[in-house]
Symmetry: C2
Subunit: 498 residues, 2 copies
């Protein structure tokens, strides 16, 4: 038997005493990590390939105790991480971790049930139905997205998956009319601010790449999609014999946090028979506060809506809510009925939800547990207070940038993202200013004291300050502003102050 000589005992993988002792070691490790993370460089100064030189070429033949493994994590892995849970992480959109999100994930991971069909774990399927309905009400979506309203929701791992599934649903509904060769005539519409996942999703499902339309936006509409620019493109396509299929609207775009006019897009979508998907991946969390609710006005005209609790809703990776107005359109495109999954006993049957038919994969984790624990632990009021704290910090940052005439805010802040840059001092300085802002951002990030990312709009290089870390407090935001000013001086931008 070679390497498996008789003296090698098979592990007892779920022995409760070992489980508890080793899990407590991991908890202690994470306790220490959360205490220390603020002191780490937010982004490591890592050379590509460094970790591979530190680890062996092959897995060990014999196992190590958990403490040895945790020590290797501490020495080799932690120094090469970008610390998304650092209070000084202001990049991309932050992905919140929380004690409740962690607890929910532990329960889900520990129970390790796989609710692909109802019978494979009834309570896991049903909790998912309950929790997506709760979230639907909390973000203020119309009743038609509730199970009781004829719609329904599902938890995916990412917006991209939600987009692929809704694109497939829209496509197959259209092809049932057009025949499969109609796929060459289908067109998908997004704005130049929409997430790249729409273009990738359309490509994945077989839409000809030349049939993906990127509609320009501008500062005049706050970088939201306008009906006029949309309709002129759609009309031209229709005149050319193409078939408008799917329109993406966004509440809180990735680059600038812009908001498309949902009601107007819905009216256009209905007129042309298009599927409207509203992507509220980031800003969907803010919709739980009534003061942001107007951003989703007109959602009753949408076919589907998605938002990511794993971004700004204290739900550790990964968790994306997708709601659809017509589950049958989704499931008729995504269902499969292999014999090995058929239920042979009483119960179940037509009235239950089999979530395998609402997603790409067959297998699926018990994500509902995680989101349910977050909602139970913090409550709606706690979550609103949490969101508002971030928005207030971003308001302060925006106000402070505006008050400093060397800087400018590029797009109006709606939620917790501030887009800003050093301002050109005269016409024609644009290129030099871009270089200066680029250097500024490199210097800020190289300091290790904060991590921000950038965007380019109207050919301007823009720095994004995305407030939203679970541990971020006002002092971190103040420190970030001091850091920006300090580095701006170092890279020379402020050497000749106006």
């Amino acid at each position: 038997m070679g390497s498996a000589a008789p003296h090698v005992y098979a592990p007892l993988p779920l022995d409760p005493e070992t489980f508890t002792a080793e899990s407590r070691s991991v908890i202690d490790f994470l306790d220490g990590y959360y205490r220390d993370v603020e002191s780490y460089p937010v982004r490591p100064d890592a050379e590509p390939g460094r970790l591979r030189t530190l680890l062996p070429d092959a897995p060990p033949e014999h196992g190590d105790p958990v403490d040895v493994i945790l020590e290797d994590v501490r020495r080799h892995i932690v120094p090469g991480l970008t610390h998304w849970q650092s209070p000084n992480f202001f990049a991309y959109y932050p992905m919140n971790a929380s004690t409740a999100g962690f607890a929910g994930e532990m329960l889900s991971t520990g129970l390790n049930v796989v609710p692909f069909v109802w019978a494979a774990s009834p309570a896991a399927t049903e909790l998912e139905g309950v929790v997506v309905d709760w979230m639907c009400k909390l973000v203020g979506l119309p009743d038609r997205f509730l199970f009781s309203g004829g719609g329904g929701g599902v938890l995916h791992g990412s917006t991209c998956e939600a987009v692929v599934c809704t694109l497939v649903a829209a496509r197959d509904r259209a092809l049932s009319r057009l025949g499969h060769e109609g796929i060459l005539r289908l067109v998908v519409y997004a704005s130049d601010q929409s997430h790249s996942t729409f273009q990738k999703g359309a490509r994945i499902i077989g839409i000809p790449p030349c049939n993906f339309r990127v509609i320009p936006t501008s500062a005049a509409s706050g970088y939201g999609l306008t009906v006029d620019s949309l309709c002129s493109v759609v009309d031209a396509d229709v005149a050319n014999g193409l078939v408008p299929l799917y329109l993406c609207g966004t509440v809180g775009t990735t680059g600038l946090g812009a908001v498309d006019p949902v009601r107007q897009l819905g009216e256009v979508a209905r007129r042309y028979g298009m599927w409207l998907h509203v992507d509220a991946a980031y800003a969907g969390s803010a919709l739980i506060c009534p003061e942001f609710r107007d951003c989703i006005d007109g959602a009753e005209l949408a076919d589907s809506v998605s938002m990511n609790p794993h971004k700004w809703f204290l739900t550790n990776m990964d968790c994306c809510c997708l709601w659809v107005a017509s589950p049958a359109v989704l499931t008729s495109a995504l269902s499969s009925n292999p014999e090995y999954l058929n239920s042979i006993s009483q119960g179940g049957g037509a009235e239950v939800v089999d979530y395998k038919d609402w997603q790409i994969a067959l297998s699926r984790p018990f994500r509902a547990m995680k989101l349910w624990v977050v909602l139970r632990r913090y409550g709606a009021a706690g979550m609103r207070a949490y969101i508002r704290r971030h928005v207030e910090m971003a308001e302060w940052f925006e106000r402070t940038v505006r008050a400093d005439q060397r800087f400018e805010v590029v797009a109006p802040r709606r939620f917790s993202l501030v887009t800003f840059r050093l301002r050109p001092r005269y016409e024609g300085e644009q290129h030099a200013v871009d270089t200066m802002n680029r250097k500024l951002l490199v210097a800020v990030n190289a300091s290790g004291r904060a991590f921000m990312t950038h965007f380019v709009v109207d050919n301007k290089f823009v720095i994004r300050m995305a407030v939203g870390g679970a541990m971020t407090q006002m002092r971190h935001v103040r420190d970030a502003w001091e850091l920006v000013k300090e580095k701006a001086k170092e890279v020379g931008a402020l050497s000749t102050e106006c």
Copy 2:
């Protein structure tokens, strides 16, 4: 401010003391669960919709302490779960949980980093590269699937995702030659034993449903795909002007655990210019034992291979290894380069892996940590011993069934799945025997003392006994056999013994 009156404090979601205290409560809960799970009915006697009647219609306005939440889990949710970690779970293919898999998931969930591009967490990306290389060597794949051999691997959440990604890669490589209208001529091949995910995946990526070929297998080849039956279908398609695109081979099919002849399929695939994907979702774990290595002979002719550590490799949900021989074909089909992800600093660049271009979604969890901890904790020898223990238990069950002339083994056991049924006593009894076996399975499952599922092959209803739970010991397998005999008697099958 309505519901968010000033007295509501925002949660401090990662306060280390709270984190540790509440996480320990969850560990204690799971400790108790693992101690008790054997005593629970494996599959609940649940009425559809029960959980919804127990929970409120809307999320709570104010949060609850963690102990209150855990008590609700205990009272309302646990009784409605199908207990995948019960030692008496023999259904589908078991999904192993383990202390190490749990520890790895806790680390991943606690750190909550998102390695979509290298710069977003260098060590997380690099650990993934290391661990897929380790697994590649461990299961005995050829060097061409290693990064150092020009190939490479990625961790997905499911086989389905791996299949969609490789289908898209194969499709776009073909369409670059044929033009997009060529999509109507592309054909995907699988056997009648292949997983339903291939048909679903082909549909998702826009292959005309009429261009998905299901090639029959039979007992004569152990339900493996034969070259003759494959080639006759492919030749007919080519003669009709269609383009063979993608062939699916399986090592360890879902229904029966059958194995397709990988080398022969590879030769056919090369001859017709098809992409060959080898799906070893379940049995891939067994390939770490040299005695099973012949099942993957010829893998150097494949374009991609996948296996699921979340099934039989002690890695809690979810984790699927995908290896490709040519990463460039994959990434050219799946890459996107939005401005907000471009790296502006030194380092990074062309030589790093950006895993967003190896998968459907942009965001992704740090799955590498989980699989790395499993390999570190148990070692290759420990994992082999673990796999062999399950195989030995299945061998015993198979031998015991064969020794009882009232039963028959339907397909030869290769790994840890035994497919069996009550045997017809005379020609023409087929329908009655199917009914009897169906009743037998319902009775076994209704007892709560074991949970098995079924399959249908050659019009025979077959019971599947899939050994592979993390806590399953020989006594559970013996008990399952006693249960089968007892229930067979109850449903009358054995009332007139031969």
